[in-house]
């Protein structure tokens, strides 16, 4: 099992009422499976399953089907970006 740090941003952070969460998971694991695991662990976690949730692994944008490698340090979930 690996301990992974998960961070949340913007409207998703507010909906979940948390900015960060650590959990023990077996890696590699897909982003979609991590969402499911978090949705089961966190009371407000169902928001992670909304279609508008985007993700990154160690600062690289990812999709649901992407695998989180065993070397991963941080996964982030957030709404679509709106900079500029």
């Amino acid at each position: 099992m690996s301990r992974i740090n998960v961070v949340f941003f913007a409207s998703l952070r507010e909906k979940l009422a948390m900015a960060e969460y650590q959990l023990e998971v077996e890696l590699p694991l897909s982003v979609a499976d991590l969402k499911q695991a978090l949705a089961r662990e966190i009371d407000t976690g169902h928001h992670l399953l909304e279609k508008t949730v985007h993700s990154s692994v160690d600062f690289e944008f990812t999709r649901d089907q992407d695998m989180i490698p065993s070397s991963a340090r941080e996964v982030a979930f957030f709404p679509a970006v709106t900079g500029g």
């Binding site: 944008f61 982030a76 709106t82 900079g83």
Partner: protein
Amino acid sequence: MIQVQEQDFHVQELYQSLLEANVTGAVAMFVGLVRHFSDLPVEDCGFELEHYPGMTEHNLKSIVNEAKERWPLLDVTVVHRVGRLSINDQIVFVGVSAAHRAEAFAACDFIMDYLKSRAAFWKKETQGENGQWVSAVEKDELSLKRWS
């Protein structure tokens, strides 16, 4: 130079830093500002910009590197503000210097397109005590197709 910062920036200073004597033939610059988005008085409206420290800088570096691979550029500067902003404040500066205007214009346009859809920033409009996260716009994502 890539900079994510709370403080305002000075366009003239950033412009000067892009110049290389006897070499620079063109500088294209873009400045994004906070528009008045509500019927409420300007002083009651504001903006909050959130980012993901580390990832945002990583995204911007990737975008600038991609631009440098596509066009022969001399220098690129990107400054993006975060934190609380007011109406009419400057948000973002993109400056590109090159030997000729075509690549300077194109690279500046490319960097702004990708910055809007591929850099970890989130905007929240505030009106008095209320805040509303800005939704991503489909045309920004479609605009990326121009470069593929």
